[in-house]
Symmetry: C2
Subunit: 229 residues, 2 copies
Amino acid sequence: MTTRVPQERRRRRPTRSGVLLSEDLIVETALRLIGEHGPEALSVRRLGAALGCDPTALYRYFHGTDDLVLAIADRIIGDAMAGFTPGDDWVASLREMALRVRAGYLAHPRAAAMAAHRVTRRRNEIRAVETGIGLLLTAGFPPADAARLYLAFIDTVLSHAATEAAFHALTPQQREADHRSWRDVYQDLDPTAYPSLTAVRRELPAMADSSFEPAVDLLLEALAARARR
Amino acid sequence: MTTRVPQERRRRRPTRSGVLLSEDLIVETALRLIGEHGPEALSVRRLGAALGCDPTALYRYFHGTDDLVLAIADRIIGDAMAGFTPGDDWVASLREMALRVRAGYLAHPRAAAMAAHRVTRRRNEIRAVETGIGLLLTAGFPPADAARLYLAFIDTVLSHAATEAAFHALTPQQREADHRSWRDVYQDLDPTAYPSLTAVRRELPAMADSSFEPAVDLLLEALAARARR
DNA sequence: GCCTTACGTCAACAGGGTTGACCCAATATG
DNA sequence: CATATTGGGTCAACCCTGTTGACGTAAGGC
């Protein structure tokens, strides 16, 4: 489609069914669709049906599916970071950022699973990057280090959150089977072939737990150690 | 399709073009297709064309696209860890494990991106867990810590590798747009609204680089520090 | 009240996964 | 060797998908 997607729209026209479309309404409806019926429920045609408009009307608001996905991702980031202000303790603030991102992803697990790996280039994401790098600058890191270390930090947070979101997006049956496998499969192993697993056998059921916070804490430990030098 | 996919096939019949199909041949051809013509080249129809058979013949070997993807993922894991033996230096060994997993994913980004968040507790994965926990045990961690820390480590590695694979699985246009955004969008920001981003402005193009190794190194630093205590 | 244009609608195209029916040839059996 | 069985390759068909260009109508500026 050659039509441009304008920044502001003043003239809006109700659809055949009387709905006034808007970028926000479309994103919200998409999130609802995904949340209710899974990621595969998000298609231009289904979204149009849910909105009560012709599917191709969406192309007046987004350049294509990819653009829509990015808008959804940015919306999730915005909701997660809403009202957050960094405090004096930069480690604690980064930790809260991590937990907020994770909570935002888990609020829309299925949407997060499909949008997590993208750079949205939109307002909410830019704001979050500004905040995170600002925290590392106050920690005393020189600009080059602050940028690189923030990237390592946020990529880890986002990757972990995406993994958790993907897990939560599974059906209860799949999730249950996953949990069981740590008990069942790993418990009946040949001790001579798998000595280490046998040694930690009683700890394996805990492997079904989330590693999000341990991993974030390890990372923040390393960052704090480097900041001290 | 109601037809079952049998374990062993004895009767095989050449296709119209004379090829003898097999599960291995199909998986290999799928990987070759992805490698040569990009990630979007993997579809049942194209795979059939590349094999010289009717697309629906593949349903005699796999229940559907999902089943095929899992078979591909299994091969990727096997290839990545093939021939790996841990050395005396547990930090270096964990590092090599991380790099191998990443390389395996990046060798087949789209397949990895599709299957990365799915848990396949097969032989290769069990072996990897055995090796990794063994390394943390030789580092002196008590069993409970070894299990939890290995989980944090491998989840970080897998999550990062999945993120990178997902990025490489994007279309060239999407990837290019992602790279550009760090140069373009983030360069024209209002300095008063975004002071930290302005301060690190010259470092931002580097944000398009991978954070895999910095993140893994931070994690290994923290693990080594904890092992010393 | 006219003119412009934003934008909702429509028809169409190319490509996707998956299905059930068909039928031939490769094997098992006598 | 001849016959029966059936694995599995083929085909047509179905409904899904994203995306396009043309069209027309109603909203807003003047």
